[in-house]
Amino acid sequence: MLPDNLREHSAAQAVETFDSAALTGGKYDRGELTLEIAPGQIVSVCRFLKYDEKFVRLSSVTGVDRFPAEPRFEVVYHLHSIEKNQRLRLKCRLRGEDPVIESVTPVWRAANWYEREVFDLFGINFLNHPNLRRIMMPEDWDGYPLRKDYPVTGIRV
């Protein structure tokens, strides 16, 4: 459901019309629009936004760890429409045990490395990703450095 204060934003309105069940929340803060999307619908919403709403660029994909809160992880997508000169943030919340979400690489090929980075540093799995390997850390690394329960200094014994 679309919060009432977002009715004036065309992108929010469009997603609401496209699939109101996928839209679980959102906010407009400091001039930036954030839409919360149900994780299961992320690919269809992204495809709609790219082809119908002209968000041709995927600027970045990243994660936020809300440990110890649940749902623990947020996957954050920053979209950019050159034609409308607009930016949009999509957010999916995932639970802490076995976080998994569909990959958006079929929509934007740019997601390939961005999602690999999130997989590498947060341990979030992306289904149907063509090449889900570690990208920053060595292949045999243990643990996910950007998780909040991973220490900043020191080596675990």
Partner: protein, 407 residues
């Protein structure tokens, strides 16, 4: 993007008996000088033609994003320098703008203009290093020396402002780190008066040079649709005819008050990217001249005692100032809850800082959307099907920095 997943392993196979075809997988890097850092390309060859390319990054991963979470907001400024060590001030600026957006802080005009002037110097610095090393990769040795002559002058200007040549951290949340030094105007003027003729010198050496043209024209083509889809930004995109520049589309730090053009080319090859960056240097010089002549007076840091350190003199005479100084230095300042994604145009393309605040004195999450990371992703698309000798020219024209890629 390669269709076949999985890493390539360096091999030289025996030729096949019927066709004589021999598959060869070579490592280029991570210590290859033309990779400007530690990029490793695994290349599968058929003769001299590249069949597949598999870039391997991460050699320079230093965990800056994680480290930021352990610092106060002001301390983290020094880490942003190290992200892209050829454009430290662009990273400072983007980070500071993002935090200032979270704080809702008003920055005085002099600080804004000074920021514009110095980030344009950063652009010059970065483009000069790019031109120097790109030319030396392709074989034009002398350009290197000319470019570094001017770069040295720029580094001296940075030193004059901040006391540091490279990792200046001169922009702080709320304004500048120090008052602009006495005599900066003459110093900048001396440089900017001669700089356009120096750009002519580089052009004399390269623009009509038949070897340079032979090595760069028609090399490194990549379709505009592929670029947008693969996340390429910056000069690469503008050399393909799309005038996308955050300084124009989403002006920050009063860029809207400056008169400059966003150059574009349509040839979309290595030569066009060279011409474009040369033109960008001229435009940057133009912005610097406007900034220096129209520099507003007044304060150079924001008027918010909770965030900005008090003047030294006030600390000695006012109890309040001393308390604020103590609080800011020992504890840091609190930033209201929220999240922002601030985008600026770095010399390499779209630089974005995504900062999440939970209301404490330390950033909860700092993510850098770096242009090199997005650009480098397109390497396979750029080089597959071309000759191995063109790889150097092609990847050179992307102007990536591995620190920026791996963070």
């Amino acid at each position: 993007m390669s269709e076949v997943p999985g890493p390539l392993v360096a091999t030289v196979e025996e030729p096949q008996p019927e066709t004589g075809f021999r598959r060869m997988v070579l490592n280029m890097g991570p210590q290859h000088p033309s990779t400007h850092g530690v990029l490793r390309l695994k290349i599968e060859l058929d003769g001299e033609v590249i069949m597949r390319c598999d870039p391997d990054i991460g050699y320079l991963h230093t965990g800056i994003e994680k480290e930021c979470e352990a610092k106060t907001y002001q301390q983290a400024v020094t880490l942003t320098d190290r992200v892209d060590y050829l454009a430290p001030l662009s990273n400072n600026l983007c980070y500071c703008l993002a935090v200032e957006k979270l704080l809702g802080l008003e920055i005085p005009p002099q600080a804004q203009w000074m920021r514009v002037m110095l980030t344009e110097f950063t652009r010059l610095n970065s483009h000069l290093v790019w031109l120097a090393t790109h030319a030396i990769d392709i074989g034009a040795m002398s350009v290197f020396l000319y470019c570094f002559r001017e770069r040295e002058e720029i580094l001296k200007i940075f030193e004059m402002f901040s006391g540091q040549r490279m990792m200046t951290s001169y922009f702080r949340i709320g304004g500048l780190a120090l008052e602009p030094p006495r005599g900066w105007y003459q110093r900048v003027k001396k440089f900017i008066d001669v700089f356009p003729t120096r750009v002519d010198e580089y052009e004399n050496l390269l623009t009509n040079n038949p070897i340079w043209i032979g090595r760069t024209k028609g090399v490194g083509f990549i379709a505009l649709e592929d670029m947008l889809d693969l996340g390429i930004t910056g000069p690469m995109l503008r050399a393909a005819g799309l005038p996308l520049d955050a300084r124009k589309t989403q002006p920050y730090s009063s860029y809207d008050k400056f008169d400059f053009e966003v150059p574009t080319r349509t040839e979309n090859d290595v030569y066009a990217r060279y011409q474009l960056r040369v033109e960008e240097m001229r435009q940057s010089a133009r912005i610097i001249r406007q900034a220096m002549d129209g520099m507003p007076g007044g304060p150079w840091k924001a008027d918010d005692p909770h965030v900005v350190l008090p003047d030294r003199e006030k600390m000695k005479t006012q109890m309040e100032a001393l308390i604020y100084h103590f609080k800011i230095v020992t504890e840091g300042f609190r930033v209201p809850e929220g999240e922002v994604f601030q985008v600026i145009e770095s010399p390499r393309g779209e630089l974005g800082y995504y900062i999440v605040s939970d209301g404490t004195t330390h950033p909860y999450r700092v993510h850098m959307r770096t242009p090199s990371f997005g650009n480098l992703q397109a390497t396979p698309k750029l080089v597959e099907g071309s000759l191995i000798a063109d790889v150097i020219a092609s990847i050179g024209s992307m102007d990536f920095v591995l620190g920026d890629t791996d963070r």
